[in-house]
Each structure stands twice: as C-alpha cells, then as structure tokens.
C-alpha cells in the first residue's frame, strides 16, 4: 500500500484528469504566487483615522487620540482610572521605558494568568476593518493579547494603513520572514453562544482600548 501522501496526490491528479503540471503551467502559477492579482478592495471615502475610529466603535472597542508619545502614559492612566483598575501592567518590551509614574508596577515578558492589564504596540492597524495587527516576537509575546482582562494597544499614525492588503505588503518586507503568530484584533473577546445574546469577555480580554498617537 502506498503512503497516504502519494495516494492522496494520485487521487487528486485522477480527479483533475491529468498528471502533474507542465513546466509552463507551473511557471504561470509560480508567477501568480509571487505577485497576486489585484483583488477587489472595499472603497471608503472618509478620512483614514475617522474610519478606523468608527470601525473600532462598531466592534465595541474604545479609542482615544493623543498628540504625541509623551501623552501615552497619561492616556493609559486615565483609562485605568476610568475603569477603577490598579496600576499594574504587563507591557511589550518597547513600552517598558516610557515615563511610567513611580507607583506603577510594570513588567514585560509573557503574560501570566494573574496579569489584569496589558499594554502593547502593534505592527500596523487597518482602517478598513478597525483591526490592530500584532506580530509575535520576544518583545511582544502573543499571551499579552489574550490572557489579561484588559488590553490597551498603542497605534501610531504612521502605522495606520487603509486595507488589509497594505498590511501584507509591509509584512512581506520583514527581513526575518513571517512570525509564528499574526493577530488581527478587532474588538474585545465576545460570544453569542448562549441564546445568541452578545456577551463580551468570553476567553480573551473583556475590553480592547486603542490609544492613537498622532
């Protein structure tokens, strides 16, 4: 008996009514893979930031605009205080050295089960869908995006792209190739599995807050 892989490929060839592809066919498919054909992108005419904010709102995420990097800490503090949360944070490596007030407890690294709030940056954000795109790395472990109850993501205006395809264009330029995990996050964790009633905070963060730096 042949091995499963050989047999499945032989079944597929039989189903397609041919043997393996000719060099010409293969070349044309290689070309399609190397530069995908331009596909339909949903058009929207409003300003990118406005659209991004509107989309975030529609997925139950919150959004605040600040003028510069120096205002990030106060925006995060205000958000924590508005929710009555302690000033204990797990943060992505790049945010560890912000001017956090002395009474904040900050650690970086992977999230632990008892971490309540995480603050991360992002790779890009997509205005089309109101998505923040995060890549796994030693500096920004994936657990930061899922284990804590509250996730705050910092998005810089230079990171905002129009369509999801624009994110892929940037991704393909990464020198180290693609990371283990790409997360497109569009709102808090939610479920409608009990009588189709929408409830936030199923397994991941109960709240997703974006601080947008102009």
């Amino acid at each position: 008996m042949s091995d499963a892989r050989t047999e499945i490929f032989s079944r597929v060839h039989k189903a397609l009514g041919r043997e393996s592809l000719s060099p010409e066919q293969r070349k044309s498919l290689d070309e399609r893979m190397a530069s995908a054909p331009e596909l339909i992108r949903p058009q929207f005419s409003d300003d990118l930031v406005k659209h991004f904010a509107k989309q975030l709102e529609s997925v139950s995420a919150s959004f605040v605009r600040v003028k510069n990097d120096a205002a990030i800490v106060s925006a995060v503090t205000e958000h924590l205080d508005s929710l009555g949360l302690k000033h204990n944070l797990v943060v992505a490596q790049s945010l560890k050295d912000l001017q956090w007030p002395k009474n904040f407890e900050i650690h970086s690294g992977r999230a632990r089960d008892n971490d309540l709030v995480s603050v991360t940056g992002c790779f890009v954000a997509v205005a089309e869908t109101g998505s923040v795109v995060l890549l796994s790395s030693p500096e920004s472990p994936t657990t930061l995006n899922f284990l804590p109850d509250y996730h705050i993501a910092i998005v810089k205006s230079s990171q905002l792209v129009r369509h999801m395809e624009d994110a892929w264009t940037e991704l393909r330029q990464l020198p180290g190739g693609i990371p283990r995990t790409i997360n497109l996050i569009s709102g808090p964790s939610k479920t409608a599995d009990v009588e189709q009633t929408l409830q936030v905070g199923a397994h991941g963060p109960r709240s997703f807050h974006v601080v947008f730096v102009e």
Binding site: A36, T142, S186, T191, Q196
Partner: protein
C-alpha cells in the same frame, strides 16, 4: 459519531414538537438573517466579492495539487509538519500518535468541524486523555454529550435554562455550586473554569478556516479568543483541516475573509483573525514548540472528480442553513450527522452514502435561498436535485434487482 440520517422523518416529527427547540430556532431570524442582511447592504462590492470568491476557490481547486505542494513546502520550511490522512481513522491515529509522543494528559480544542467529522474526541478519550472543547457552544455540548446542531453556533438549540442546569451539574466539582441564570454570569463561570484548563493543557487542537500556500499559515477566525489560547499556551499545536481548505496567498485569504464574517455572523470582521505559521521562533517567550497540520481527504478527492466539485468551494459560514426553511423548522440534529442544512445534505450524502441519507435531499423546498446567500455561489439546489436523481436511479436499480 454514529449517523442517524436514515431516521430523518421520525427525528423531524420529534423536533417539530420540541417546544424549547422551536423557541431557539425562532431566534435564527434576528440572530443571523437580519444581521447578515444589514452588513451586506452596507458593502457596495459584496456581489462582486462573491463572484471573486467563487473564482479564487475554483482556481485553487483546479490546481489543488500545486497549492497543496506549495503549502506543504512553506510549513516544512518553518519547522512545522504536514501529515496526510486518507480517511478519518488515519487522521485520528496520526493525531493520537502526536499526543502520545508529547505524553499529553490534557488536550484543549478550538472549534473544528473536521475534528467532529473524523470523530477525534472519542479516540483521544478512549486513550485516557482529558479532552476539553473551549468554544463556549462546543463546551456546552460536550457537557450535554450532544453533537453540534449548527456549524458556527453549535449550541443554538440550547436554552439558557438548559445551560444553567448543565453548569450546576458539572461545575460543582470546581467549587461553583450556585445556579447562574443570566448570560453574563454563565459566560463568566465558563471563562473561569476553562481558563484553568487552558493553562494545564499539553496539546492544543484547532481547525483552519483557510490554509495559505504562500506563507504556510493556518487562519482561525474566532470571537471568543478560545482558539487563540488553544494554539498559544500548550507546547504542541495541531491543526486539523480538509485538503480543500488551501488558498494561494495572503491577498486571496483577505478576499475570502471579507466574505466569511459577513456571511456567517453578519460581522465585517470577527474579534480575532489569527495566522499561525510553524512553531515558536528562537527567543519567543510563548507559543508552541511543535506545529502539526493534519490534512484529511475522506471524500474530498472523490468530489473533486465529479459533479459535486462545486461543493468543495464551501467556506463553512453557515449562511445556507440560516436561510433554509427546513433547517429553520427542524434544527440541525435531525440531519443525523456532523454537517446540517443544505451544505450538510450534500456533505452527508457524499460521506455516508445515499442509502443512509435517502431522505435528506428531499428535505428541501428548492426555494433557492441557500444559493442566493452562499458567499462562493455554490448552486446548492442543483446539487440537491442531482442527489434526488441519483436516489431515484438507485431505487429503480434496487427494484429491478428485487423485482
């Protein structure tokens, strides 16, 4: 699971008289149909996107050998492993071996219809492993010992009261003995119970909404984040998928994602769209040490050869069942196997054979709504008519033989 499709008529009678079920099914209208209509109306390009989605899926199926090879190469290059399974038994054996090699005691699962199709949980449990479904709907059904009745809202047939009863019965062992009656309290209790299971699990198993040949990634689309924890916390991540789920590039995936959320839950995008590619990289502080993909054939290569190839375009959104008057009247269990509704009639007939499924193709009014809402334009009524013709031929042949 043991199919009961041959009992369709009998099961339908019971379902029609089931008051709780009828209350639950009445919510499909607002829950799915209206939400989808609103979000589709908002997008001027939706019809063009459907046609494009059909073309992308057709192109991929036409060159399935090429894209599977490219996908396998990409996964392997990243240090992942691709396994091939001719049928359910082989798929379960591969997965069991991986779990045993990892000395797994506890397995946490994201939602995967292929794992239902191959009957994975039973096999792992028989080998002494603790298997936990983490999608809330699937978890509720695991407690109830029932199969899903909908491909994206598996517990749609359950009322809140029934869920309260299940939680009281099964959560007392974790110290939750008070009966919760509100949706937030029920969800919170499940979150607390399952969080512990996530942290303990040795292996995480998820499905793959799409497999990308360009990058060797599997995509999972969730709202709960359960699939994401399942593929991030355990030391081994196993993906179960059909061989037809591959698509060429990230851009093609994007085109399909624009159709999937809108068609499934009426969402422009779900909370989480996650691309997993290989095991964790050197220096990563979390993520699995091993990444395996188990590609299942079952009847897929056979369907590729015949007039049911169009069914392989299916992206498992569930829109066809949401819009089906028969599904809306009797629910998903009556269909007797893993996949219900119009898409389920075709897939059950292909997988189980026409004798077991003889009544399914007739459980259809041919009103055509399923085809109108299908994001990849599968002509479901034509496929059902075709099944009826085959039934008739079989019946005639049988009468001839028995004379």
């Amino acid at each position: 699971m043991q199919p009961s499709s041959h009992n369709f008529k009998q099961n339908a009678k019971v379902a029609l008289a089931d008051k709780d079920l009828q209350i639950a099914l009445a919510q499909v209208q607002e829950g799915f149909i209206n939400k989808r209509a609103r979000v589709v109306d908002k997008l001027a390009e939706f019809e063009q996107l459907r046609e494009q989605g059909k073309q992308i899926r057709n192109h991929t199926l036409e060159h399935l050998d090429y894209y599977l090879e490219r996908y396998e190469q990409a996964v392997t290059k990243l240090g992942g492993h691709v396994h091939w399974a001719r049928d359910s038994e082989e798929a379960c054996k591969i997965i069991l071996d991986i779990c045993q090699q990892a000395e797994a005691k506890s397995v946490i699962k994201g939602k995967s219809m292929v794992s239902e199709e191959i009957g994975l949980n039973d096999v792992l449990e028989q080998s002494g492993m603790d298997v936990i479904e983490s999608d809330l709907g699937e978890y509720i059904l695991q407690l109830a010992e029932e199969p899903p009745s909908h491909i994206i809202a598996p517990a749609i047939h359950k009322t809140k009261d029934q869920i309260s009863d299940l939680f009281v019965k099964h959560h007392a062992q974790y110290g939750y003995s008070e009966r919760q009656t509100t949706v937030p309290d029920l969800v919170n209790e499940a979150r607390a119970v399952l969080r512990q299971r996530f942290l303990e699990a040795d292996v995480g198993i998820t499905g793959g909404n799409f497999l990308i040949a360009e990058t060797g990634s599997n995509i999972i689309v969730t709202n709960e984040g359960n699939g994401d924890l399942s593929c991030t916390l355990p030391k081994v991540h196993i993906v179960t998928s059909g061989i037809e789920k591959v698509i060429p590039t990230l851009d093609d995936a994007t085109a399909m994602l624009r159709l999937l959320g809108r068609s499934a839950t009426g969402q422009e995008i779900t909370s989480y769209t996650t691309f997993s590619s290989g095991p964790k990289r050197p220096g990563d502080l979390d993520g699995p040490e091993q990444y395996h993909v188990v590609l299942v054939d079952n009847v897929r290569s056979k369907m590729l050869a015949d007039e049911f190839r169009e069914m392989l375009r299916c992206i498992r959104c569930g829109a066809c069942m949401n819009h089906c008057p028969v599904y809306g009247s009797v629910g998903g269990h009556v269909y007797g196997w893993v996949y219900p509704g119009p898409m389920g009639v075709v897939l059950s007939s292909m997988n189980l054979g026409l004798e077991e499924t003889k009544d399914l193709a007739n459980a259809c009014t041919l009103n055509g709504r399923c085809a109108q809402v299908c994001p990849v334009k599968i002509p479901l009524p034509d496929l059902l008519r075709n099944l009826r013709r085959q039934q008739k031929r079989n019946l005639t042949a049988w009468q001839f033989v028995t004379g």
